[in-house]
Every structure is written in C-alpha cells, then in structure tokens.
C-alpha cells in the first residue's frame, strides 16, 4: 500500500470519527443517566495500525483531542487525556503481545485478535483515559464517588459503542488491511 493511500485513509477515518462525534453524538443529548459520557472519537486512536510510530501517535492524539476541545470549549482537557491515551497505547500493546509476537498484518480487530485480547485492550485503555479525564475535569478529588461512578458508566458506554463499531465495520477475514 502506497504511503499517500495510507495517509488519505487515515485522514478519512479522522474526519469520520470527529465529524460523527461533533455533529451527532455531541451536545449532551446522548448522556446516560446523567453519568455516562460517550467518547466515540477515541476509536480513531485505539484502532490505528499497531506499528504506528509513538511520536506520530502522540501528535495524532493531540490533534484529535484539541479538535474536540474547540467544539466543546474545554480548552485542552480532551487533548490532555487523548495524549495520555496515545502514550499508554504502545505499553498496553506490549503487555498484550501474543506468544509469537504481532504479525505484520495484525490490526486491532476483534475478529482477528480474539474477544479476550480485545476486551482487555479496550477496557484497560478506556478506563485509564476516563480516569484521567474525569478527575482532570473536576480539578480536584472532592467528589470521588460521583466521579468514579461517572468513570464506570462511561467506560461501559464507550466500550459498547466502540465494540459495535468493530463488529459493524471491521473485516472478519484477515488480510484486507
């Protein structure tokens, strides 16, 4: 696959994730029980190719978070949490390396990597991101129970939404990139 094709494809993914999030899932209209927020846009970062360089991931995370920040008027809150997620992702991937290492054409795909691998990967990263996000947003540890329940419900919500994205749009057979 040529380099321009890869860039174009990732650009399209970026626009899709951010566009759908800002235009449809935003505006507080899809908050569950006043506790669960949806971080659909994280799918862009989480489902990047496994071999993406760390520096590029960090930059993409910053750009992604900052675009959401501009739409939400949150300054740099989403950006800070997204950069943290981009930094932690290689560590989690290393932690979850299969016995014989990643294949060249392995992607983050629930069909290829299996349910167990995918659940741990998604759950761990989304939980860390949400912990950082919600405690940062409040700026204090004053309401730990409320914040933790927000984290819990949001992790479940985001996890289910991203799982649906995987099941709907990711190829079942390997080899199509």
């Amino acid at each position: 696959m040529s380099i321009s094709l890869v860039i174009g494809r990732q650009l399209l993914r970026f626009l899709l994730y951010v566009g759908v999030y800002v235009l449809l899932l935003d505006n507080g209209s899809v908050v569950l029980f006043d506790l669960g927020w949806n971080f659909f846009y994280l799918g862009f970062l989480l489902f990047l190719p496994i071999s993406t360089p760390v520096a590029l991931q960090l930059l993409l995370g910053f750009v992604l978070g900052f675009s959401i920040d501009i739409a939400h008027d949150t300054g740099g809150l989403h950006a800070a949490a997204a950069v943290l997620l981009a930094y932690l992702r290689p560590w989690v991937l290393r932690l979850l390396t299969p016995r014989d290492g990643y294949d060249a054409q392995d992607t983050v795909n629930v069909h290829q990597m299996g349910w167990q691998w995918f659940t741990v990967y998604l759950g761990l990263l989304v939980t860390l991101h949400h912990l950082a996000f919600f405690f940062l947003e409040l700026g204090s540890l004053q309401h730990p129970l409320l914040t933790l329940s927000r984290v819990g419900v949001s992790v479940a919500y985001t996890g289910v939404v991203l799982l649906i994205v995987q099941l709907l749009f990711f190829p079942v057979r390997r080899g199509r990139g």
Binding site: L23, N27, L58, G75
Partner: protein, 339 residues
C-alpha cells in the same frame, strides 16, 4: 553529537508526551480567562459555521417544539399588554367625611389646576393634559435601557453537564455584541458573553463556576449573589452571601439587582427551593431553582451596552486616589530618594 541524537531518538516518546501535555494543560488552565484571543474556542469562524449548520439541521426536526416555546413567550408578553381590570375604575376622589351641613366632602387625588383668568373652564376641561404615558424611570430602578434594543440570538452550541459550561451564539461583533454583556432569555438570566468573533459569541452560562451574578431578593430587596458550584445539576444554583438573620422563605423570587451593569435590574433568576442554616457558617445556604431550562435553550437575547461609561469611570475614580494626591505622593517619593 551522535550520543545526543541517539538520546533524543531513544526518548522521543516521553519528551513529546511531556511537551504535548504541557501545551494541553496550558490551554486547559487558561480556558476561562477573559483576556485570551477568541480563536481556540467554538466561536471561531470555522467551528461556528459548522455548529450553525448542525443547529439548522437539528432545528428542522423540532420545529413544533420551537414554535410552542415562542408561542408561550408571545402569550406572556401579550398578557402584559392588557391593562389590569381595575385600571379604569380608579377613583379620582375619595369621600373623606361630611361637612357641617351634612354634605359629603371629597378629597381630590389629582387637584385640578386653578383656571387661568380669561379662559373658559369648559374648554380647559376638554384639553386636559394627559399625564405622560411613559413609565417613570425611577420606578424601574433607573436602569431602563430603552436606547438600544436587545440583540436576539440563537444558541448553536450548549453544554450542560461539564464542570464549566459554555454556550455559543450566532451573533458577533458585527451585530453589536461585546464581551461582558449579559445574556437573558424568556425564562430569565442565561449568562455573560466571554469572547466575540465577527459572527459568533461564546457565553459563560450561569452553569459556570466562575460566574457570579449580583442579585437581590425581590420581596425585600436584600442584596445577595447567585453562583453555581461544581457538581450541581443544571436546574439549580446557590444564593450566596445571605446573612443568617435575613428571613428567606421557600418560593421567594430572586432577581438581578442591576448593580454591576451587566444585567438590567429585575430580571428573573429563579425561585428559592430550600433554605438551610449550617453551623459554623456566617451565611445561609439557599438553594435556588433556576428559571431557565438550560436543556432546551434556543432563543436568547444579548443585553446591549448600557450608556454607563460615565458611571463606570466614576466608580473607578472614586475607588482610586485623586490625581492630585497621587502626584503629591510621587513627589514625596522622589524627594525622599534624592537626598
């Protein structure tokens, strides 16, 4: 040199990570300061256009609800136009007793002016002067800002459940909106303009931890302030700085006091829902039910700049030392240094 390059490459991840986090935190922490340029927020031209398009599309699916809201506003305003039932039945004189001949004596509420000599009292009666129909500005607290109309605006972006909430409006500096102007809606106070671009404005809503509104209790005029602490829901706020000895009742109306010229006086904020006295506190804890339903906010009005430059400069002058005193102090300081 090669070692340095190798070092940089080895630790590029962590260094870039720290750098980007510092940048993010800088933007996050300076977000609510008022001096920042209005580019990196939802009021910038590109994001504004995007959010406005989104609102246009979304509005199409809730036209009925929007019409109902406007209808309710219209009904309320129309009701205010009707004169009250008894306005025409007001007596212009009151019987105050009987004189010595047994006739009823009236005290006239509007004593007629004595007829000028040479004028027929009948024609005088015909051209009786109608009292000025405009309301007395004194009765309205002197804050009647009829010189310029309110600027109507559409809310195109709205957050409710964040720690600090903002709105984006589709009016900007070309429509005469300036920073620090109040924003109100049919239901009451909405917020304060924070930053303006050419066609859009960003508003800190009442649901922002740094916004305080100068308010008063309508019943007896007690001064207080309204604020929204972090972690409260979007239907309530707290009334601050109410002395313990003040009598506050459930259902009391809280309105703006008009003391800081952001809002005109007497704009509805909300009604008192509960009052509690806590030990070790000088002030009452008064919970307020906000008049505005922020979850279905659509049309709002920006209060135009009042002709209060004079007042503001006066207040600044009186809080500073007079110029002559300053000059004398500077002189003294100089004189003290030289010898």
């Amino acid at each position: 040199m090669r070692n340095l390059l190798a070092f940089l490459l080895r630790y590029q991840g962590i260094m870039l990570f720290v750098l980007l986090e510092v940048v993010s935190f800088y933007f996050f922490l300076t977000n609510s300061s008022y001096q920042r340029a209005a580019f990196f927020n939802s009021a910038n031209a590109y994001m504004g256009v995007l959010l406005e398009r989104r609102t246009q599309v979304a509005d199409y699916f809730r036209l009925a609800e929007l019409n109902k809201q406007l209808l309710a506003d219209n009904a309320q305003l129309r009701y205010k136009l009707y004169p009250p039932d008894f306005s025409r039945r007001e007596a212009d004189s009151l019987p105050v007793g009987r004189d010595t001949l047994g006739r009823v004596v009236y005290r006239h509420l509007r004593p007629a002016t004595p007829p000028l000599p040479g004028q027929n009292p009948l024609t005088l009666n015909a051209q009786r002067v109608i009292p000025n129909s405009k309301p007395d500005t004194l009765l309205l607290g002197g804050s009647r800002q009829a010189t310029r109309p309110l600027v109507p605006a559409r809310v195109i972006n709205n957050s409710l459940r964040e720690v600090d909430n903002y709105l984006t409006l589709n009016v900007g500096s070309t429509d005469g909106v300036q920073p620090d102007r109040g924003v109100i809606s049919a239901g009451g106070v909405v917020g304060k303009v924070q930053a303006v671009s050419q066609h859009y404005a960003r508003v800190t809503s009442v649901l922002h931890s740094k916004l305080q509104i100068a308010a008063q209790i309508k019943r007896d005029g007690t001064i207080c302030s309204v604020k929204w602490p972090e972690g409260m829901d979007f239907a309530h706020a707290l009334v601050d700085q109410v002395q313990r000895q003040t009598r506050v009742l459930r259902g009391d109306t809280i309105v703006t006091s008009g003391y800081n010229a952001v809002f005109p006086a007497g704009v509805f904020i909300g009604t008192v829902e509960s009052v509690a006295t806590e030990p070790n506190k000088d002030f009452l804890t008064v919970k307020l039910r906000l008049g505005v339903d922020f979850s279905r906010l659509t049309y709002v009005y920006v209060v135009p700049a009042p002709p209060s430059i004079e007042r503001d400069s006066l207040e600044q002058h009186t809080s500073e030392l007079p110029a002559s005193v300053k000059a004398a102090q500077a002189q003294a300081a100089k004189g003290g240094k030289q010898p």
